[in-house]
Amino acid sequence: MAKAFFVDTSRCTACRGCQIACKEWKGHGVVPTKQRGTHQNPPDLTSTNYKLVRFSEHKIDGQIQWLFFPEQCRHCVYPPCKMVGDNYDDTAILHDEVTGAVLFTEKTKGLPFQEIREACPYNIPRLDNATGQITKCDMCIDRVQAGMLPACVKVCPTGAMNFGELEEMQALAQQRLAIVKQKHPNAQLLDADDLRVIYLVTQDRTRYFEFAQRQELPSFTRKSLLAKLASPVQHLAG
């Protein structure tokens, strides 16, 4: 039942179809962009950009490597943002039991934004100044509940974006990793056990962008999260 994404960056051509599809499905308006010498636009996630294709350039062993990373919320198996949010209002951030989606409701208005953002190991939450809500990718929960694929997955022409049952995606990720490793010995899956968005990268993860790495915060170790989430009351909140 639990769902997952598998993002195979080795197949990404950075067409940014996912970024556009996300905006269109959500009905998000334009944000000002600027020529900054990269196709990465806007430069960062915003309260109306839940998906962003990040570009980074490197010269590795004399070869130019242009790395693409379609970034989005990882929908953690044990989401630290929810844990922090629950301290204030346990109905503000929901963890959907069926899909595993981590959902920011309009009640996030009442949560301290900086704390929520800092709790995220991948720096995903953004504040919508107009509404006061904290926003991010919601796994296209409306589409998924209706049996459709998330917009970003539906639009992807190359098979970089995949979505399905967790076990299925985990198996696909392992299968692709074995193949991709033949060409890219440094290929790896990023924090696959902790997330519902499994990334396959071909180079060392530090080469992509700052938050391709997990920012491990001492107060949010997996153990403490497990302890928190074991409480039945909080589990029901999802």
Binding site: R11, T13, A14, C15, I64, F68
Partner: protein
């Protein structure tokens, strides 16, 4: 495109040249990556490193506009190393045909050039024919006047040193591409060429593409799954220009546009149906009457009968010898000779050369929609 998009997945090598496929024809990469999954080598030859290069097995930058020497070097490499498919080349190309005595190539010029009109008399390059008018052939491909031997001589100059000097590509990189792509010159292998406006929009656009045809024919890559020469097209007026006959000189099905010299269907057929005395020639366009009648029936339905030439008389006819191409059309608008028109699926004020003139021409007309 000689093949269709999905067929790209069947290729064993993909040469992307004059195209930034991943960015401009993103769906093509769905199939390029499928081919790569199956072990195909994806090669991007382009001055610029792009997202296409990022997903290719290797990217080789070349000096802009030097595609002809680059491919010419590949022709020589294929010939020198006998990587061509001999059976294919003899049976399905004109390599064995004997070229008539009138053909000559000297000091960079072909025979038949008239400096006054700056045009070639192409009749001088005709094949030698027997008494039945059938081109003579040499099965061994050894006759010095065979297309094959003349081609060999012609491309003799495209040495690695020369090509490297002109293209700015290192000899190692040249060989890397030549080797990877000509490995498809085997009956059980195929390679495809993907090109776009990076080839067509050069002054030598046609020559770029014809040269890729020579490469593909030598390797036996035309008419096979995963082969071909694939012009990547997206916009309706590019693919549609041929398929839907949006260009002025043809009607659908690649048939010539009727002109006033061909008043009846019989005139039209006589002028456009080729004849061959060669029993082995497929001469496919001998079937043109069937295509044209079918088209006319499609247009006019039951009103198209044998007695009325299937309605051919109702078709508008152009003046023979007159050019109706869009560049000429705007010239005439500019001169006040064309007084109105409908423009759709196209923004000439932005896409035609010399936009100032186009915009002025547009103002001269009385009706522009």
């Amino acid at each position: 495109m000689t093949n269709h998009w999905v067929d790209i997945k069947n290729a064993d090598a993909i040469l992307i040249m004059g195209s930034n496929a991943a960015e401009h024809h993103p769906i093509s990469f769905k199939w390029v990556l499928r081919a790569q999954d199956n072990g195909a080598t994806v090669i991007h030859v382009d001055p610029k490193f792009s997202r296409t290069s990022a997903r290719s097995d290797f990217h080789v930058p070349l000096r802009s506009g030097t595609d002809i020497p680059f491919l010419g070097g590949m022709v020589k490499y294929i010939l020198d190393n006998k990587l061509y498919q001999e059976d294919y080349v003899f049976n399905y190309t004109n390599a064995g045909f004997i070229v008539g005595e009138g053909f000559e190539f000297k000091n960079g010029m072909f025979s038949g050039y008239d400096p006054e009109t700056k045009k070639y008399d192409q009749k001088k390059w005709a094949f030698a024919k027997d008494d039945k008018g059938v081109p003579m052939r040499d099965k061994t491909l050894q006759n010095p006047r065979s297309v094959f031997q003349l081609m060999k001589k012609h491309y003799d100059r495209y040495t690695l040193d020369n090509v490297s000097k002109i293209t700015g590509v290192s000899k190692d990189d040249l060989l890397k591409v030549y080797k990877a792509f000509s490995a498809t010159g085997k009956p059980d292998k195929s390679g495809t060429v993907m090109y776009a406006l990076g080839w067509t929009q050069h002054t030598v656009g046609v020559q770029n593409i014809r040269l890729s045809t020579i490469v593909q024919l030598l390797l036996g890559n035309i008419g096979v799954a995963g082969g071909g020469i694939n012009a990547l097209r997206g916009e309706p007026n590019v693919q549609g220009s041929t398929d839907h006959a949006i260009l002025w000189h043809i009607i659908p099905g690649y048939n010539a546009v009727p002109n006033t010299n061909w008043q009846t269907l019989d005139d039209y057929m006589a002028a456009n149906t080729p004849k061959s005395n060669d029993p082995k020639s497929a001469n496919w366009w001998q079937h043109r009457p069937k295509y044209v009648v079918s088209l006319l029936k499609g247009w006019f339905g039951e009103a198209a009968t044998k007695d009325n030439g299937f309605g051919y008389g109702w078709l508008p006819k152009v003046d023979p010898g007159k050019d109706y191409a869009s560049a000429v059309l705007f010239d005439e608008m500019y001169a006040g000779k064309v007084r109105g028109g409908f423009v759709y699926g196209h923004n000439p004020a932005q896409t035609m050369p010399n936009t100032h003139k186009i915009r002025k021409a547009d103002k001269v007309t009385e009706l522009s929609i």
